[in-house]
Symmetry: C2
Subunit: 293 residues, 2 copies
Amino acid sequence: MSKANDYQILIEKSLKNYLPHGNFTEQTLIDSMEYSLMCGGKRIRPLLTLLFCELCGEDVNKALPYACAVEMIHTYSLIHDDMPCMDDDDYRRGKPSNHKVYGEDIATLSGDALQSLAFEIMLCDEAVEKISAQRAVKAAYTLAKYSGALGMVGGQVIDIEHENKNADIEILSEMDEKKTAALIKASCEMGCIIGGADKVRTEAATQYAHSIGIAFQIVDDILDVTATSEQLGKPVGSDSENNKSTYVSLLGIEKCRELVAKLTDDAINALSVFDADTKALSDLAIGLANRSN
Amino acid sequence: MSKANDYQILIEKSLKNYLPHGNFTEQTLIDSMEYSLMCGGKRIRPLLTLLFCELCGEDVNKALPYACAVEMIHTYSLIHDDMPCMDDDDYRRGKPSNHKVYGEDIATLSGDALQSLAFEIMLCDEAVEKISAQRAVKAAYTLAKYSGALGMVGGQVIDIEHENKNADIEILSEMDEKKTAALIKASCEMGCIIGGADKVRTEAATQYAHSIGIAFQIVDDILDVTATSEQLGKPVGSDSENNKSTYVSLLGIEKCRELVAKLTDDAINALSVFDADTKALSDLAIGLANRSN
């Protein structure tokens, strides 16, 4: 089995461990958080944190709380994104969305609590003692910045405000940079921070993250017109139904495929500043470009 | 003018400064965050952070990011709490709720972004350099813990799940401890952490926070049956309309008033371990007990 597989198993186990364990009056909330967090995502973001930490020569166990934190932020954003007042999606990864199972009130609150939990696990004694308070602060700050108003959440707002409008490529780029690439940047940069990388290597990680992040979004746009709903575990064609501008609607599928190939090359080339073996990260970039769901 | 007034002016100015400034594509989001954050709350939580920091002999300016962060968490919880899928309140502090002005999608996201911003301002270089990474980590962890699944958000879930049921006094106590007192504890403890307080003083702050927090909630319950909607800036009688158990419905108004007086005494007595002048905090406890809105 590949290293990425081993790490994904480690991530699954850690995510589950980081949820509150006990029998609480607010057990429904914990169940709802667990339902979405343990729903079998691809775990790309936490994997990136671990792989960059390892690439910097540091023990990946030190990066685990930060890896799990970014997955919690990603999960909370999906729960809120699926709500009727947002994308109104009844299914996520082939299963009913959080609010379809727990109701909109609990779904709102479990998203909120997952965000708090992300910061709690990064800043608790156990996580901080393994690295240093300086690195813990820097990593948690990085995640807060990239997930907030001028990062992931900002990207979602740009997305909402440009539905049913003809967004141009500049707006689309800014939206995807914030909505998708920002959290991937946080994942990669946090791995570098925990690993004690210098400025050159951290910037290379940012460049890698930007390239795979934008490629990831373009592949999403392509799959929305080429994949089956069974492959995606959610309805397809929603972008064109919503009259949303996408890379595909603006550039066409062929040009999009070329762009994904170029971005994937850029990502792999950015890794050349690292001395250690970058194969796992190169493979990940290629795998994301060629994915069918 | 009192010290509390001076500090409240400082808090207003800082909150405004901590919002992103510029002309952003996602400007609607920033406007929505500002709308609720600058909506003229009582600023009790940040004031507590500053007063405890000062009581520990430390410069209050060092506690300002942490004071503002707790107000951002409080504000995000109000925005989400007012949503149709939660309490469905059209008004907050006499003005239309966030979602009535910006829509439910933007309201959801501005709550999310305010939570991120809270952690961003506590963990940024400027805030951390004034204290130390150790204290920054401890303060931000404290806020994450008290605001999350087993704190404020957990309390909101207990509240939701006991609507239209006859909650007993144990459930009511746990709910109020989490929903209301938890964030007040975070405020007071963070002031102590920034101020470098020892364990005895920090525990005294927690005790003070618990007492004024529960008193605060009981006063809320009393005002819901005795105040006018003009005084509160929101509809009254909503608890009994929703068949919610409250301290008033379980114990009666007179017993509730006695309890508020006792809790206020407890809060003031807890402050006796501090050497410095605790008048501002005693006055605050008394003011909250006697408030009419």
